[in-house]
């Protein structure tokens, strides 16, 4: 069984993974994921940027029912496990929406760190991996 990312170009594949964003060369705004035009100034001069691995929890909730499928492709029925979801502000660059490794004991402002976690098993028996943030400290 191989481990495969949920999509190419979303995060780097390493022990210290990073999300892959982009930065506008004209106005400096940072986006996630990569996009090829700037939502602030309209420039098409965007450069890939690896985002900081750590940040602070800006907002959160829980997803306690299986999202409508499609588009949701994860476990449903008895296999569904509620999960936390939120925005993590990455060191003054950008806030990213993300799955959280915890659904309890979350609090706004807590320190968070990027990790890769199993998401589902695909039809070929591969383990699909996604990014998530976990509390640190």
């Amino acid at each position: 069984m191989a481990r495969v990312p949920v999509a190419e170009g979303v995060f780097t594949w390493s022990d210290d993974p990073q999300l892959i964003g982009s930065r506008c060369s004209a106005c400096g705004i940072v986006t996630f994921p990569v996009q090829d035009s700037c939502p602030r100034c309209g420039s098409t001069d965007m450069a890939e940027r690896l985002l900081p691995r750590r940040g602070r929890l800006w907002a959160w909730t829980t997803q306690e029912f299986p999202p409508p499928s499609p588009p949701y492709a994860g476990p449903t029925g008895d296999a569904f496990v509620p999960f936390g979801v939120g925005y993590v502000e990455l060191a003054g660059e950008v806030k990213v929406e993300t799955r959280l490794t915890e659904a309890n004991a979350l609090r706004i402002g807590m320190d968070m760190e990027l990790v890769l976690v199993p998401f589902r098993t695909d039809d070929g028996g591969n383990e699909v991996v996604t990014f998530a943030f976990r509390p640190v400290g």
């Binding site: 999509a7 996630f32 602030r40 909730t61 409508p68 588009p71 925005y87 950008v94 806030k95 929406e97």
Partner: protein, 380 residues
């Protein structure tokens, strides 16, 4: 050119089996025409809003093929506000003198869903389970409660109020009062929001007949004037649904922008408003929208709700017909349902749920995916 509303009509909201959206639309139109004392052949133009029905103008097959310009509109959760705005502007431009705004929808049960790519979101965003509107509302109110000291019991009180008001409204979907305890004990969907704090997608239709204000006395003994109607989309930095990322910079959402624009056009302020309809996708949304529309400062909702000020007899009566929580949300019709309620309140025809003291100014607000808001201000 000022614009007046001289007729309103509603098909009840709820679940209606095999009745089609178009049939519900025709019923709402007939009621609005009867209310205005006009015939379908008098209507010079129409705008029709819907999410599920591709061609609301197909209603002419039931009403009469009179050849009028009939434009179909879909604009997210602000569809009905857009229909109203476009119809009013057609009169303001002097193009026509008497027209119709109608909205209709017939949704399947359960949270709305779509292909995230149609919202400029990547496929993996939906695959991971992030393309869920209810989760956005959970995050927004959870953060708002943290920042402004709003309690969970305030959310339950707001939902209970709307079920209570819905019980007084013969056209509502949910007509059974629910206790705060039952609301808090219902299934947690997206912390801190439980099942009974949310509205449901459902079915229904609403229609409004508009005319040039100077001609309104021909049709109505008590015309209601549309003082302003504004639609706005999100700006960069607003905290919006279906956003895989947000910039560090923060700015106000489209509701704030639409509200300010509408108040400026109308030349009045929030303190002048006597009856209010807000987008209560969930109880938290009503709490937030009360401040976003200028009716209170952030955090004041805790006291306002505890003191009963949002009740029909309170200082700021909100969602007097039960709002979305009791009526559900047929997207195309939802905002015209709000206008229908405000018109009845301003005419003094709201029966058991009539706001006391002869209300003179009413307000409606819609908000939702993909980050769009619509506001209207009406007065006697």
């Amino acid at each position: 050119m000022d614009v007046a509303i001289v007729g309103v009509g509603l098909h009840p909201f709820g679940r209606f089996g095999d009745v089609t959206g178009i049939e519900m639309g025709a019923i709402a139109i007939r009621r609005a025409l009867a209310d205005a004392g006009v015939e379908w052949r008098d209507i010079q133009f129409a705008f029709g809003g819907s999410y599920e029905i591709d061609n609301p103008d197909a209603v002419v097959a039931l009403m009469g093929l009179t050849g009028i310009p009939f434009t179909n509109v879909y604009n997210g959760c602000a569809t009905a506000a857009s229909v109203l705005t476009l119809a009013a502007n057609t009169i303001r431009l002097g193009e026509h003198e008497l027209g119709l705004a109608v909205g209709m929808d017939k949704h399947l049960p359960g949270a709305f869903s779509a292909d995230p790519r149609l919202y400029a979101c990547p496929s993996w965003y939906g695959e991971l389970g992030h393309f869920v509107t209810t989760k956005f509302f959970g995050m927004k109110i959870n953060k708002y409660m943290h920042d402004h000291g709003i309690s969970t019991s305030t959310l339950a009180r707001v939902a209970a109020k709307n079920y209570r008001n819905g019980a007084l409204n013969p056209n509502a979907f949910r007509r059974k009062p629910l206790s705060e305890e039952a609301i808090l004990a219902s299934r947690m969907l997206n912390h801190p929001l439980t099942q009974y704090m949310f509205c449901s997608p459902d079915e229904g239709a609403a229609a409004v007949v508009l005319c040039r204000a100077d001609q309104a006395p021909r049709y109505s003994a008590k015309p209601i004037y549309l003082r302003a109607s504004a639609v706005r989309t999100r700006r960069l930095g607003a905290f919006e649904v279906h956003s895989p990322w947000l910039p560090i910079e923060e700015t106000a959402g489209p509701t704030v922008d639409a509200s300010r624009a509408a108040f400026e056009t109308a030349g009045i302020g929030p303190e002048d408003v006597d009856v209010i309809q807000l987008q209560d996708t969930d109880a938290g949304a009503e709490v937030i929208h009360l401040a976003e529309n200028g009716f209170c400062a952030d955090g004041d909702q805790e006291t306002l709700v505890a003191d009963g000020e949002l009740e029909i007899g309170g200082r700021l009566p909100v969602n007097t017909d039960g709002g979305l929580i009791a009526n559900g949300e047929p997207i195309g019709a939802s905002g015209l349902r709000q206008v229908h309620e405000v018109v009845l309140q301003l005419r003094g025809q709201a029966g058991e749920r009539q706001v006391p003291g002869d209300p003179k100014v009413g307000y409606t607000q819609l908000y939702g995916a993909p980050g769009v808001a619509g506001v209207s201000i009406l007065s006697v």
